[in-house]
């Protein structure tokens, strides 16, 4: 899987309230509508301008807070191909894999807004085409890589008729 797109850069501690705020709680059963507001409280222009394939790039502790799976789901629905950050909050990270949204842990300091990236989530390779640099992401645990490659947890469970961890 090769992903290619432009970078949208965010800072540290982007919370699930920034991504899918509580004031839009009533849209959680209408995900396409909720996706129109994705990350609105961190960057009000993002949802209107993001293009299919683009990357969300954060700093430390991306996705902290709530267990709401709607957060990675609407990032994916908005067309984002992967999220890159220096570190992720635990529940968000697992949820992203479960909904089939690649998440990569790498040093994002050298990535700037608007950079063009090519990413291979399986190999964890990030090529910054704008800067001519290559970054290596920390590898995913096997179980998470398998769930991601199966297309998320629901598809994984359907395919294997249960959990196949080992």
């Amino acid at each position: 899987m090769q992903l290619r797109g432009k970078v949208w850069k965010f800072g540290d501690n982007i919370s699930t309230d920034h991504i899918a705020p509580g004031r839009l709680f009533h849209l959680r059963s209408n995900l396409p509508e909720l996706a129109k507001h994705v990350l609105e409280d961190a960057d009000p222009e993002f949802a209107g301008k993001v293009q299919p394939g683009d990357f969300v790039v954060g700093g430390n502790n991306f996705g902290l807070g709530s267990s709401r799976e709607h957060a990675p789901t609407i990032i994916k629905l908005a067309g984002v191909s992967a999220v890159l950050a220096k570190s992720f909050a635990r529940i968000f990270f697992r949820n992203a894999i479960n909904v089939g949204l690649p998440v990569l842990i790498c040093d994002t300091d050298r990535i700037d807004p608007g950079d063009e990236l090519e990413v291979d989530p399986g190999a964890g390779e990030i090529r910054n085409l704008t800067k001519g640099e290559t970054l290596q992401a920390s590898p995913l645990p096997d179980v998470m890589l398998r769930i991601l490659q199966d297309g998320g947890l629901a598809a994984h469970v359907t395919k294997h008729k249960g959990l196949r961890v080992n």
Binding site: N13, P21, R28, N61, S67, A89, L153
Partner: protein, 423 residues
């Protein structure tokens, strides 16, 4: 090598001896969702063709986040949850019963249990020595259907608390101090284990506050050994036969040990917009508030309402402050009614809501106006948390909250408490 609490519980639940770093498939003792995450879990089960609960009596669908419903979309979500419970035999905890985590503590969590919940504060049941952790809707959906989940066994940070909390200082101040110390991502992927003299002396209501906020340091679980106090709490809830003693081995291996002297702590406040942005109350200067919220799974228990009533008895809420009180459960509400706390709070000027999450998630019952400030006893102060990204949220104990409601500025409760005790 001995085992931490996390290793012990997950070894038993997986049927193999596991240590930190291992992957394990564990049997579940309880799986819960709430009305913000349950509808997606139900839809995922429908998508997988698994509309079933492996253990219906230990599957609970809570309606607490937007309860009673303020909007038709949410009323329809609630309908979906009620229908799923009817189809599968899962337990429904409907409007008015209270916050999921409080009810899990009162009625479900047992020492040694593995609990997953589609709510990040599921970790609260760690105070009863259950390995309890928050996950997303699909993970919990699979847990409901299959009765198991996969986990990475976490390394553990031991939070060793010596001494005793001074009067006017509460476990909320302790956990805010800990989060300020290690940071909002300081314990990501780890379990916290709280131990030491101060924890042993601590009633369950205060232990629950500690475990509740473990996730605010990024932790997967916030565990406390099951001891006599655990037995007392279970017995008080008619569950003494569900008690088993449980503690870490003396030679358990901890990734990090953090020692804290409880006697040195003062009331502590988290400032906007992250929970680790903490300061001792003496260092925050003058902060005017428009609203005070006493409630939530963190600090909406009878003992919290008792301390608020003690502070507010015979006093009035500041004319420019709205005081919102939300008992965490029906039991808390009834106990507080019987003890007269609700009367005291209402006489002082509080608005008392039905048991539930109240304004905590920003859905209803206390949304801030632009530029407004709220002081909450809840667990998160993220931007937008009270339904308006232009609002500002401070976190503190129920005592700080009540003292602040009187003065209209964030106030050290110790003077007010001393004065209340003298009267």
């Amino acid at each position: 090598m001995g085992q931490t609490l996390a290793e012990k519980i997950l070894s038993k639940a997986s049927g193999t001896s596991v240590k930190a770093g291992d992957m394990a498939v564990v049997n579940l003792d309880l799986a819960i969702t709430q009305d913000g995450t349950g509808p997606l879990a139900v839809r995922q089960l429908e998508k997988m063709g698994l509309v079933q609960a492996a253990n219906p009596e230990r599957t609970v669908l809570f309606i607490d986040h937007a309860a009673p419903s303020p909007r038709k979309e949410l009323s329809n979500d609630h309908k979906l949850l009620r229908e799923f419970a009817e189809k599968t035999g899962a337990v429904l905890s409907d409007v008015g019963k209270g916050v999921c985590h409080q009810i899990v503590a009162e009625q479900y969590a047992r020492p040694g249990d593995v609990i997953i919940g589609a709510d990040s504060h599921t970790c609260m049941a760690g105070a009863l020595s259950a390995f309890a952790t928050g996950m997303g809707s699909t993970d919990v959906a699979v847990g409901i259907a299959l009765g198991k989940t996969w986990m990475r066994v976490p390394e553990t940070f031991l939070i060793k608390v010596s001494g005793r909390l001074q009067p006017g200082v509460f476990s909320k101040d302790l956990i805010l101090h800990v989060i300020g110390l290690i940071g909002a991502d300081g314990a990501t992927y780890k379990a916290l284990e709280f131990a030491g003299e101060a924890i042993e002396a601590m009633p369950m209501t205060d232990r629950l506050t500690l475990s509740n906020m473990a996730v605010e340091a990024g932790a997967k679980a916030g565990l406390i050994a099951a001891d006599e106090e655990t037995w007392r709490y279970l017995a008080a809830h008619g569950r003494e036969d569900e008690y088993t003693p449980l503690c870490a081995d003396p030679d358990a291996e901890y990734e990090r040990v953090i020692e804290i002297d409880a006697s040195q702590l003062e009331p502590t406040v988290a400032l906007p917009h992250t929970v680790d942005n903490t300061k001792p109350i003496s260092a925050i200067g003058t902060v005017k508030v428009d609203q005070v919220f006493i409630g939530s799974c963190t600090n909406g228990r009878t003992e919290d309402l008792a301390v608020a009533a003690q502070v507010l008895k015979g006093r009035k809420v500041h004319p420019k402050v709205r005081l919102i009180v939300v008992p965490a459960s029906k039991r808390v509400f009834l106990e507080s009614l019987e003890a007269g706390y609700i009367k005291t709070l209402v006489e002082a000027g509080a608005s008392v809501m039905a048991p539930g999450c109240g304004p905590c998630v920003g859905v209803h019952e206390g949304i801030l106006g632009d530029g407004e400030v709220s002081l909450n006893t809840s667990n998160r102060n993220f931007q937008g948390r009270l339904g308006n990204p232009a609002g500002f949220i401070y976190l503190a104990s129920a005592a700080v909250a009540a003292a602040t409601a009187i003065t209209g500025v964030i106030t050290d409760p110790r003077e007010v408490l001393a004065d209340a005790a003298a009267r």
